[in-house]
Amino acid sequence: MKPKQLESLLGDLQQFSNPEVELEQYPTGPHIASRLLYTERTFFFLFLGLHFLVLLASWVLRFSFCLFVFGVFFKAENSFDDISNKVVADFGCGCGTLAAAAAAALLGAKQVIGIDIDSQSLEIASTNAEDLELDMDFIQCDISNLGWRGQIVDTVVMNPPFGTRKKGIDMDFLFVAVKVQLL
């Protein structure tokens, strides 16, 4: 599937009907979602890294460990040779745009799991998955108390809340994403 085809597919997805400001709900654009999944491996790391760098730049003095976390996240991704046969999780999936992009774009067998705190979003995500005939599981939970066993998840994709409403939530997401891949 070409990036433009994926972009077009994602454009048809249903989005939040009543976005909740406190949860920082907003749709991940089809263009950015499709490009995220398709960029060159090294650039993928850079992009993700840059995204987090920008995110973390304002916190760097207060949380010096975050650079370490960022570096570790990078390292965890280096053993990412074969993009197929992976279990992918989307933390804070919302209406499932990124999760759907992962499910549609990643060729070969993979399982995509979307996690979000809001039941309305998950219902929309579920409908979207059905409409696109994509095979995805969804879990409703708060990311900070997710009980997750083992290291089944290979890759985490996410466009999490940035912490504009609930301070520090971005770090929670980053932390869990790294933890899930390392433990």
């Binding site: 219902e123 969804f138 939970c141 708060d142």
Partner: protein, 124 residues
């Protein structure tokens, strides 16, 4: 919710030492066929808690999986076994029911295939 996901989820209630595996209460199971991928199954096999998968599949009404995990060599040669593994792991969906914390018995409802793992204030 398929059993691959169930194999990863545990109860994170305060005070619970081991919240895995979650017990399953079945109200409705749906079978959805999905294309088999042998490589994927071979890759994921070492990460799966076999007993949890085998017990869960039995509760969901599928009795073909052995209780003891097979030798890895079985996965290389036995296609029929791979098909059963595939079916239990990826094609059985708990559509309605609940997941129960093995220690506290607390129920996490499952509706339309989505488990609700949100904790109450006093459980965090």
């Amino acid at each position: 919710m398929r059993l691959l996901t169930h194999n990863m989820l545990s109860s994170n209630i305060k005070g619970v030492a081991n919240g895995f595996p979650l017990r399953i209460e079945v109200e409705k199971v749906v079978e959805k066929e999905v294309e088999i991928n042998h490589d994927f199954l071979r890759n994921i096999f070492p990460k799966i808690d076999w007993k949890a998968l085998s017990d869960a599949s039995r509760i969901m009404g599928y009795h073909e999986l052995p209780e003891e995990p097979p030798e890895p060599s079985v996965l290389e040669a036995d296609i029929e076994f791979l098909r059963k593994f595939h079916h239990a792991l990826l094609e059985l969906h708990l559509e309605e029911g609940a997941l129960l914390c093995p220690e506290s018995g607390r129920k996490f409802p499952v509706n339309k295939g989505i488990p609700n793992m949100l904790l109450l204030e006093d459980e965090v």
